[in-house]
Each structure stands twice: as structure tokens, then as C-alpha cells.
């Protein structure tokens, strides 16, 4: 298991009440599952307050970077000690 640094960016901090923490994970998917398990309920609570019953995943509404590279551009999703995982809310509004 690798010790991975997680950072929530922008409104995630207000929604989820946390900015940085460390977790143990082998892969990006494992890390994001842990993030969802720990903070997904807060996101759902926030959505329900806004009248949105739809279940949405934090990672599904985010751009996720590992060491500044988007996970869709990574061939290898395995993680190592000290990797930095930025979870940035995805915006496309104009």
C-alpha cells in the first residue's frame, strides 16, 4: 500500500469540510473508492439540501490529477508513496 496525498480543490473543501489528507491505496481507483466511502455521504447530503436526489460520485464530478497529470492520460494507474492526487471540481459552464 502506498501513502497518497489527497487534495480537494475549491468548492469541494466547503462541501466536504476537508482540504488535505493522506490515505493508503494501491491504485487510483482504490484511492477514489476510499474518498467516496469517506466523503461521498457529505456530498449526497449537500445535493439533497439542494433538492437533488440523483446519486453522484465525487470523482465523477471532478477532474482528477495524479502528480499534475489527468488520470485519463495515465497508462499506469498504480500509486506509490508520496504521490499527489488533486481532486478538482469539473466546470464546463459559461
Amino acid at each position: 500500500m502506498a501513502a497518497v496525498n489527497i487534495r480537494f480543490v475549491g468548492p469541494w473543501r466547503l462541501y466536504l469540510g476537508v482540504e488535505r489528507f493522506t490515505l493508503q491505496a494501491d491504485t487510483v481507483e482504490d484511492a477514489l473508492d476510499q474518498v467516496e466511502a469517506a466523503y461521498g455521504p457529505r456530498y449526497h447530503e449537500r445535493l439533497l439540501k439542494g433538492g437533488i436526489a440523483e446519486k453522484r460520485r465525487i470523482a465523477g464530478d471532478s477532474n482528477v490529477l495524479v502528480n499534475r497529470v489527468h488520470i485519463r492520460q495515465l497508462a499506469d494507474h498504480s500509486l506509490k508513496d508520496g504521490d499527489n492526487l488533486d481532486i478538482i471540481p469539473r466546470f464546463v459552464g459559461g
Partner: protein, 287 residues
């Protein structure tokens, strides 16, 4: 004497001494006199403004621009063509500010019409223009702000077959879109046309800005690859209040001014992420 020469002579005659915002002594010409020169010389208002600056005379409307961009910068702006993709929340303010800044040619692209839920944030919208074409309303407003600006208002849908034709001839492109798939299309066209692309996007109290030059990794570094994926973001939950598009649009316009005039440092290969609720500004390096 040709039209340009006679215009220059008239401009020198009409111009007066003034002091710029930065305390510099300059010669200026009023809007009324500038119009008179255009009328007597048969030149367009834009041509007259360019001749003014070439002869060291500042059109009064740009006097407060001198301390930041100077005469050379203002000339470059007047000679430039900027395409604005989208005339909604971001686009409305982008267009307004580009017109006031004095960008000579604007290409405004949007196939939408104003509806009531635009009124909270889209600066070009108003109760009197509901159901009217966004680009036509925007062109009219630009004309009232700065009649020297030449506007091409294109009520068009941006897709694979239209994008290159819509953007060809522009010196740079501003992203004021609300669709990731269309953003990726426009960014790809900018690479082909070898022009800069200024990205902005908003959701709720947050927004982001980045300038992409041809050859940069660009939007793929933020959104990953794959047009058509993740068509929406957090804005489907948060909506968009009045303030966020105004701030992000202003930052996008500042990027445009820097690109054209060659001043300052571009927000390039890094994402500026602003959160107004949190009162924070983060820079996410993408290199």
C-alpha cells in the same frame, strides 16, 4: 493627397493637448472630431482611430488605457481580430470589455436567443431583448459602446464542419462556451489555425482560467482526452450567479490584452482556480 494623408492632416488640426491617467502629456482627439475626420476623409471610424495613434494622437476614449498598454499596445489591439465563442454569461462580459478596450475586430459566435433565466448574469440580456438573437443584441451593444469596432455577428452552431470556417482569420479565440465537447472542438481548431485559445469556465461561486498556445497540452491536461465525455460539470448543481462570470470573463479579457500587446505573464500551462465562497485563488501547475 490620399485619404489617409488628408485624415492625418485633419487629425493633427483637431487634436488637443491632454494629460493621460499616468501623467503623460499627449495629444487627444474627441469622438465627435474623430467622426468628422471619418466623414470628411471617407475612411471608417476604425481606420481613423488607427491613423490617430500612428500620428501620436490618442482617441479620447482610450486615454485611460495609455498607462497600461500605451499607444503601441492600443494600435495592436485596434488591428486585431478576436473571436468570442459564446455570447452568454462569460461571452457577454468578454464582448463588452473587448469593445471598451478597443479591439478592432470582433467575431461573435452563438446560435442562441435570450431567455428569462439568462437575466441574472448575462450582461447583454435584458427584458427588452428576450427571444432575440444573442449575437445580434451583442453587435448592437458593441456599436453603442464603441462604433469603431467592426463586428461580425455569426448566429451559427459550432461543430466539426463549421468550426474552422468560423474561426479562420481570427488572431485569437476566447472560450465562453458551456459545453466541454464544443470547447475541445474549438481548441483543436485553434491548434490547426495556430492561434491562441483563452479558456474560461464557471460553476456556482467558482471559475477557472487558462491560456493555451498552439503546442501546449491545453484542455486535455485539465479534462483528460475524449470529446463528448463529461458533457456537464458542477454547474448543473450550483447554477451560475451574476458575479462569477463577470470575474472570469474579465480575467479572460486580460489574457487577450496580454497576448495582443505582449505585456505581462500569461496564465499558461497552469490552471487558475478561483473560489469566491472560499475567498481563494489556487494555481494548479500542469507541467
Amino acid at each position: 493627397m490620399d485619404a489617409k494623408g488628408s485624415a492625418a492632416k485633419l487629425i493633427r488640426r483637431y487634436s488637443k493637448r491632454a494629460v493621460s491617467g499616468s501623467g503623460q502629456k499627449v495629444r487627444v482627439i474627441s469622438l465627435e472630431d474623430s467622426r468628422a475626420v471619418a466623414s470628411r476623409s471617407g475612411l471608417t471610424p476604425l481606420q481613423v482611430e488607427i491613423i490617430c495613434l500612428e500620428n501620436g494622437v490618442v482617441p479620447m476614449r482610450y486615454l485611460r488605457n495609455m498607462g497600461t498598454v500605451g499607444m503601441e499596445g492600443q494600435l495592436k489591439l485596434l488591428r486585431s481580430t478576436v473571436a468570442v465563442c459564446g455570447a452568454g454569461g462569460l461571452g457577454g462580459t468578454v464582448i463588452e470589455l473587448l469593445a471598451r478596450q478597443g479591439v478592432g475586430h470582433l467575431v461573435i459566435i452563438d446560435n442562441g436567443r435570450f431567455v428569462e433565466n439568462n437575466l441574472n448574469r448575462q450582461i447583454m440580456s435584458g427584458e427588452d431583448v428576450l427571444r432575440r438573437s444573442k449575437v445580434k443584441v451583442a453587435a448592437g451593444r458593441v456599436g453603442r459602446i464603441n462604433s469603431a469596432v467592426v463586428v461580425k455577428a455569426l448566429s451559427a452552431y459550432i461543430d466539426n464542419s463549421s468550426v474552422d470556417g468560423l474561426l479562420k482569420g481570427s488572431d485569437l479565440v476566447v472560450d465562453a462556451l458551456d459545453s466541454l465537447a464544443t470547447r475541445l472542438l474549438v481548441e483543436a481548431a485553434c491548434r490547426r489555425l495556430k492561434v491562441p485559445f483563452v479558456h474560461g469556465a464557471i460553476a456556482g461561486f467558482s471559475g477557472q482560467v487558462m491560456t493555451v498556445l498552439p503546442g501546449d497540452k491545453g484542455l486535455a491536461s485539465i479534462y483528460g482526452r475524449g470529446p463528448g465525455q463529461d458533457a456537464h460539470g458542477l454547474e448543473t448543481i450550483t447554477g451560475n450567479p451574476p458575479t462569477t462570470p463577470a470575474v472570469i470573463a474579465a480575467w479572460e479579457v486580460q489574457e487577450v490584452v496580454k497576448l495582443i500587446t505582449g505585456t505581462g505573464t500569461l496564465v499558461r500551462n497552469r490552471l487558475l482556480f478561483l473560489d469566491f465562497a472560499d475567498g481563494s485563488l489556487e494555481e494548479i501547475s500542469l507541467l
